[in-house]
Amino acid sequence: MNTHLHNYTHTQQSRLADYCRTGDPPKIDGLTENRVHHYRRLIHGVIDDTLQSAFPLTCDLLSQEEWYGVVDAFLSNYKCQSTSIWKMPSEFYRFVEETGLEIKEKYIFLEDLLNFEWTEVEIYMMPDIAYPESKTDGGWLSEVIAVNPEYKILQLNYPVHLKNPKGITENDRGEYYVLLFREKESGKVRFMNLSVYFSWLIEKVEIENTPLIKILKEAAQVFGVNEKALFENTLPFLEELKANKFIPGFYI
């Protein structure tokens, strides 16, 4: 479709865009040179503001110099694809994940922290997902449990959801699971630390559409625990999920 635009014009446009991203002095015909920096400043400002509001913990953790360094590296090197700017922070997270940055050696849990902060934004904003039709009361073992479909479970190496990031060290390394979900009425995002068993259970319950009794049989094998003990351990957890509205009830 690009039949009318000449290479010359395209090049001038590319140079201006490249300058805004990298700061390398532009060679553009007819440019007012002492003004063009405003474009780079404005773009940097928009990106920085958006990232600061999506990643308040990360921004607070990094020194100003470190923060600007990584934002600048992102702007220069990463080609943002999000047409809605609120989604752009997910690309920042991806950039940090895929790029060998020195800062990741200093903050070993940085990827986890960005993942956690982005997921909160994502779940808060994401399109509504229809809830299963459910009734409030039912039998935990014999009926199919309905869960709030607006959730995500993250697997993390560091407990960024449990501890102040400033206090996290290599000693905290482990296998952590966190459930993030959106409350239907308020739209607020809540999160809960999970054991590996509970994260497995939630996903089973949601995907398999079968009564808990069957899932517990499988769990007993997978985790090598007897069914009765498992149920006694699971029931308070399910009651808690119901109380904070992650479980609306049972399928009709």
Binding site: H4, Y8, T9, A17, I28, T32, H38
Partner: protein, 280 residues
């Protein structure tokens, strides 16, 4: 309080309650960027649905990047179309600039080279967008701080595109004031040369002077008197009444100050349009 007749304002999340109550602010309509409201759910989707049921919604897009050398983003346009239809949106406007280049979004408005090949390229793109959306779009003359490889005048560039693409124009009166100041031309002469019969929508805003010879279009200050005067001049020149938007994105004042600006604009519209049109 009764709603304004001609003058609307940009929807802001921090005033959502006030808009729903409709007491302290009485805009005729609300403007949103589709990109900020499409494909969302949860709390803000619920609020937006209520707002859209209560006010006419006009839109001002951010990411179409009509002036880019890149291909049109059809997937994005599909989502825009869905959003416009979902909320019965009457106006879809966009910036005559580019915000994406070589496959990277920049989230700001870069100036297009005023060149003939760009006129052809952009007009073709606008036509494709209009065909796809099954509606005309209104393109906004943006403020700019430096020309880029220009071979024609700004007014010739804009007029040629509007003519060739057969689209509408969003006349941001503050942008014209800012550009006239920054690039040393006469704002009234510029406006008179525009295809005023194509103006479908007007924007009004404040700005900030950052150097003796440079104004930045910040939308962070009240509208200044010379811009009100330029608006009055423009309103008398237009062949028809059009909606007018007060843009304020930063440094948000008390609601009564915004309402004062809405009313001041409304008075100018009433004088220019309601009176003249009742004579006609």
């Amino acid at each position: 309080m009764e709603r304004n007749k001609h003058v609307g304002i940009g929807f802001r999340k921090d005033f959502a309650e006030e808009f729903l109550e409709g007491k302290d602010l009485t805009p005729a309509f609300l403007e949103v960027a589709p990109e900020n409201w499409m494909e969302i759910g949860g709390y803000w989707k619920k609020v937006f649905n209520k707002i859209a049921a209560q006010y006419p919604i006009y839109t001002h897009g951010l990411s179409l990047s009509i002036g880019t050398p890149d291909e049109l983003d059809w997937d994005f346009l599909k989502k825009v179309k869905y959003f416009l239809n979902e909320h019965n949106v009457q106006i879809y406007s966009e910036h005559l600039s580019y915000s994406k280049c070589d496959n990277a979004h920049l989230y700001d408005l870069l100036p297009i080279p005023f060149r003939w090949d760009a006129v052809k390229h952009i007009s073709q793109r606008i036509k494709s967008v209009q065909d796809f959306l099954e509606r005309k779009i209104a393109i906004e003359i943006v403020s700019y701080y430096t020309p880029v490889a220009a071979e024609m005048s700004e007014v010739e560039f804009i007029s040629s595109i509007v003519k060739e693409a057969d689209c509408n124009l969003l006349l941001d009166v503050n942008n014209i004031y800012v550009n006239a100041f920054n690039h040393n031309y006469d704002s009234k002469e510029f406006i008179e040369k525009l295809p005023l019969d194509k103006v479908e929508y007007i924007h009004m805003a404040g700005h900030e002077q950052v150097a003796p010879d440079l104004i930045i279009d910040t939308h962070g200050e009240p509208i200044i008197d010379p811009v009100y005067e330029l608006f009055e001049f423009t309103a008398h020149k237009l062949p028809k009444t059009v909606p007018v938007l007060l843009e304020r994105d930063f440094n948000i004042p008390e609601l009564n100050e915004l309402q004062y600006e809405l009313n001041r604009l409304e008075n100018i519209c009433t004088k220019a349009w309601d009176y003249e049109h009742s004579l006609a």
